[in-house]
């Protein structure tokens, strides 16, 4: 079947193809009628129906017609663009057209399948969809995919085991790595540990070769004792400012001979690396296998630096290399990178917050991290603490506890307590070891076996969370009170040493990085991944990735795996030399813009700036959500592929044939969740009202109050806007903007005596099939009961509403 005619619309030569989908569509919908119907629409020069448009034959048909009939735009009435949209974009490109001048009318998921039991209605709805799609494509612009250059430079923030692994993976793959660490040495918390579970490898022994690799890798530029001060720009062009703190020692000259430390008279500086258990001199090296293994001066302890630059100076006098420089200043370093990996790690929970355990007040209550250092010193034959015979571990200190606002499990404490207890039992078989736990989580490879080994060694696991600790003021021993929940007896026992198994929290330094990079945090406070299943190392910012415990508590194997994953994701973007940006980006009608700046804060990406009194959009930063559009009182903001005029035409065409006393509702469906959800509803053949037309939008926030009011003016009796639930949305702010817009429209409707319930919105996830059907049907029922809006009321909605929407100033 084929209808051909000369186009009456001088600019357009549109071809429309109606697909049978091998019966999926044609069994319900009258496809011949649709093709004839399409042929009568303005601008359409050709319309055909075919059994399988997505097949090679179907695609070749389009390519041949483009050549023979000089088509410049194409509409395909078939399945959802979620399935074959890409296919037909490629077909058009092959045929020599822009891939952005094809639109699909989704007559399978939105007509044939959900309305399978009413073929006539399904066909009518398909006509409405096709007419609306043709109206949209008439205004399509032949956009091209743009590419941006991208280099091979990466910033890795934090040089714990996560940052080290990422830096080495990237460096070994030929990428240029800037590794920035705030402490004077790399290594992070792993450098502090005694041994690692479940293999009991010496932590320093397996870490120090990797640290040495960082130092010698020619592709890794290491900046220690340095902090990120600013990051501007976007993927492929991040401008980074780093501040190097003064070490007061020239690391190119220093040979870490230790003479200065011998001479330094200030010997009582608490050693951070040793968790304050030991002290060092004011001039010191971070620890014995530090990288770089160079001295530095603590400016708050040094006599010379605290007392006005005249006294002491013994280190400088004794230094054989003349490396000491008391005039050292902070230094700003700037460089540009293409991608960023955030590996800023964790801080342990401050145990003194949990007052019932007396940490900081009782001599013999220590944290597990302190116990790590105690064991390291004991192993080296240099014990720093007498642990006594009976040792108790209190689990879940700062984990799974609403009283200290930490609901999550820190995942590693069960295993590290098991490890510490095993090591203590191994080095002192006379010791009596107890672990008081809530639930024992031995989840990893070899962990359950390791737990069993500790039980074999005689470590006792008591199920109960310790209620309180009491210090005996004479003996300094600590009594723990706890219910053994398995025997329901109360244990009150005295311990020589009590170890608090402290949980993990986002590190303080990460909090600054979050602000600088504008990346999201999840409810537990850790950094948020872009998708919990499929984008576990991506962030909400393109080109910024996560590795290690900054994203959530994890052990060393998981941290290393995640760091390698983050490197791979970064390489994926960088190794092509360029990356494509979708042309679905915002743009500004300059002639309408008056530089009022209302749009600038509306953009969550900071992509909008004002230059020469006009707004301009940075296309590399813009994600194409469209929320800027409703912030503009002059209608100057717009979005490619979903322009204001396209959507207006589409809306008008969808309502054009509505008869008196008929009702019709419009559903604006966001591309990521609601549109896919509607497809799933169709696939499941779940019927819903046929008096509904779905209009695809990039996000719920794209639907401006002006569009809603126009839809009502043109004949819509109800409007439903669907957006993603925040956790699955690519635009986390979109739901909020959508709700604000809906509230504004409701207020206007109230004023005009139109039921505000005609405009509704909801945030969906793609599995809420029943919720979707109910929402649409409820709105249709409401509109049916309330009746069609009288024409005179509709007319009033066409007037300028800027006063209501933006306030007096913009009236």
């Amino acid at each position: 079947m084929m209808n051909e005619k000369e186009s009456s619309h001088q600019d357009n030569r549109i071809g429309v193809y109606v697909c049978h989908c091998g019966g999926n569509i044609s069994d319900v919908v009258d496809v011949k009628r649709l093709a004839e119907f399409a042929g009568r629409q303005e601008g359409v020069v050709l319309s055909k129906d075919n059994t399988h448009m997505c097949s090679d034959v179907g695609q070749q048909l389009i390519i041949d017609d483009i050549a023979e009939h000089h088509l410049d735009k194409v509409v395909i009435a078939a399945c959802s663009p979620q399935f074959q949209g890409e296919t037909f974009m490629t077909t058009l490109a092959t045929g020599g057209l822009s891939p952005y001048v094809v639109e699909m009318a989704n007559v399978r998921e939105q007509c044939a399948w959900p309305h399978f039991d009413s073929p006539e209605k399904a066909t009518e709805k398909a006509e409405q969809l096709i007419r609306a799609t043709i109206a949209k494509v008439r205004l399509s612009e032949p956009l091209e995919r743009k590419t941006m250059p991208i280099g091979k430079r990466v910033l890795v923030i934090g040089a714990g085991i996560a940052g080290i692994q990422a830096a080495l993976d990237l460096g070994d793959s030929g990428f240029e790595v800037y590794l920035v660490e705030k402490n004077p040495s790399i290594g992070g918390h792993m450098a502090q540990l005694s041994r690692t579970f479940p293999t009991e490898d010496c932590s320093a022994c397996i870490l120090s070769p990797k640290m040495a690799d960082v130092r010698t890798n020619p592709n890794v530029h290491l900046s220690t004792y340095s902090e990120i001060k600013a990051v501007e720009g976007y993927l492929g062009n991040f401008k980074v400012t780093v501040e190097k703190k003064p070490r007061y020692v020239d690391i190119d000259k220093c040979i870490a001979c230790g003479i200065c430390e011998e001479k330094c008279p200030v010997k009582n500086v608490p050693d951070q690396f040793e968790e304050g258990l030991t002290t060092h001199t004011a001039i010191y090296t971070p620890f014995d296998f530090a990288v770089p293994n160079k001295n530095l001066i603590d400016p708050e302890a040094c006599l010379r630096l605290t007392r006005g630059g005249k006294v002491c100076g013994l280190c400088a006098k004794s230094c054989p290399e003349d490396a000491i420089d008391f005039n050292d200043q902070p230094e700003k370093v700037e460089f540009t990178v293409d991608t960023i990996i955030v590996a800023t790690g964790f801080d342990i929970f401050d145990a003194s917050e949990k007052k019932v355990y007396g940490y900081g007040k009782f001599d013999n209550v220590i944290t597990a991290l302190e116990m790590e250092r105690v064991i390291v010193h004991a192993t080296e034959g240099n014990p720093i603490r007498d642990l006594g015979k009976r040792i108790g571990f209190i689990q879940c200190v700062g984990s799974r506890d609403e009283q200290v606002n930490r609901e999550y499990c820190s995942r590693v404490c069960c295993m590290y307590a098991t490890k510490l207890a095993s090591l203590l039992k191994h080095s002192g078989p006379q010791r009596d070891l107890y672990i008081f736990y809530t639930d024992l989580r031995a989840f990893g490879k070899g962990y359950e076996e390791y737990y069993k080994r500790a039980q074999n060694m005689g470590v006792k696991f008591i199920r109960g969370r310790v209620a309180e600790a009491i210090e005996n003021s004479d003996s300094k021993k600590v009594t723990l009170k706890v219910e053994d929940t398995l025997s329901r007896q109360i244990i009150e026992a005295e311990f020589d040493t009590v170890v608090l198994s402290v949980g993990m929290g986002l590190s303080k330094s990460s909090e600054k990085i979050v602000e600088i990079l504008r990346i999201a945090r999840s409810q537990d406070g850790f950094l948020k991944e872009a998708h919990p299943k499929f984008k576990p190392v991506d962030t909400n910012r393109e080109g910024v990735f996560l590795a290690g415990t900054a994203q959530g508590p994890k052990d060393i194997p998981d941290t290393v795996a995640q760091a390698s994953a983050a490197s791979a994701r970064a390489i994926r973007l960088m190794n092509q030399g360029e990356y494509a940006i979708e042309p679905i980006v915002a743009f500004v009608h300059k002639e309408l813009c008056n530089g009022c700046e209302l749009c600038v804060p509306a953009c969550p990406q900071n992509a909008i700036s004002i230059s020469s009194n006009k707004a301009q959009v940075n296309e590399a930063l813009c994600l194409g959500c469209g929320s800027c559009i409703s912030s503009c009182p002059r209608g100057a903001h717009d979005l490619h592929l979903y322009t204001n005029s396209q959507l207006l035409e589409q809306i008008q065409a969808a309502l054009e044939d509505k008869k008196e006393n008929e009702i019709r509702i419009l559903l604006f469906a966001d591309d990521t969740c609601t549109y896919r959800l509607a497809d799933s509803v169709g696939t499941a053949k779940m019927p819903y009202t046929t008096e509904s037309i779905i209009i695809r939008v990039p996000s719920g926030s794209r639907v401006t109050p002006a569009l809603m009011l126009h839809a009502l003016k043109f004949g819509a009796d109800g409007i439903f806007i669907g957006d993603c639930e925040e956790r699955s949305s690519p635009f986390p702010h979109s739901g909020r903007v959508m709700k604000e817009n809906v509230e504004k429209v409701k207020a206007i409707l109230q004023q005009e005596n139109i039921e505000p319930e005609r405009v509704r919105s909801r945030q969906f996830v793609t599995v809420m099939l029943g919720g979707f059907v109910n929402s649409i049907n409820e709105l249709a029922d409401f509109a049916q009961a309330a009746g069609s809006i009288p024409q005179e009321k509709r007319e009033k909605l066409g007037k300028n509403k800027n006063k209501e929407l933006f306030g007096e100033k913009y009236d």
């Binding site: 609403e402 199920r463 209620a467 309180e468 219910e483 329901r488």
Partner: protein, 134 residues
């Protein structure tokens, strides 16, 4: 001898009733025992507070025959420490209510000897009435 716990619809009804009365989601209790370890009345109790919670979770009506709920001094030590943010004092109060709604008076003010009435602090009388009369 070990007692068998039979689970029936009655158990669920019991749990739901206590949850309604107390306003607490009792199934949230993860049986860590923090409540029992710090309870000042624990030495006198026949079952521990966490055991009380567990019996309610299972909807075991025998919990009503225990002494623990009567010995609860409502000092709120457990409530301020509970890692799951549960208010055990409310649960104990609900259990007392369940028992008292059966209409049993454990004290009869009218029968108290006059010298005791004269000497008892007023607050003791008020809480006695509140706790021990149906």
């Amino acid at each position: 001898m070990t007692e068998k716990v039979v689970i029936s619809d009655k158990n669920l009804e019991f749990l739901e009733k206590i949850e309604r009365l107390s306003g607490e989601v009792i199934t949230r209790c993860d049986q860590c025992g923090t409540c029992s370890g710090g309870c000042p009345m624990i030495a006198e109790m026949d079952i521990t507070p966490s055991q009380m919670m567990h019996m309610v979770q299972l909807g075991h009506p025998a919990v009503l025959d225990s002494k623990a709920m009567w010995l609860c001094a409502s000092c709120f030590m457990c409530t301020v420490r509970c890692p799951r943010g549960l208010d055990l004092s409310k649960v104990a109060e609900s259990l007392r209510q369940m028992k008292l709604r059966q209409g049993i008076d454990y004290i009869d003010i009218g029968k108290l000897p006059e010298h005791e009435l004269r000497n008892l602090p007023q607050i003791a009388l008020v809480s006695g009435m509140r706790k021990f009369t149906g």
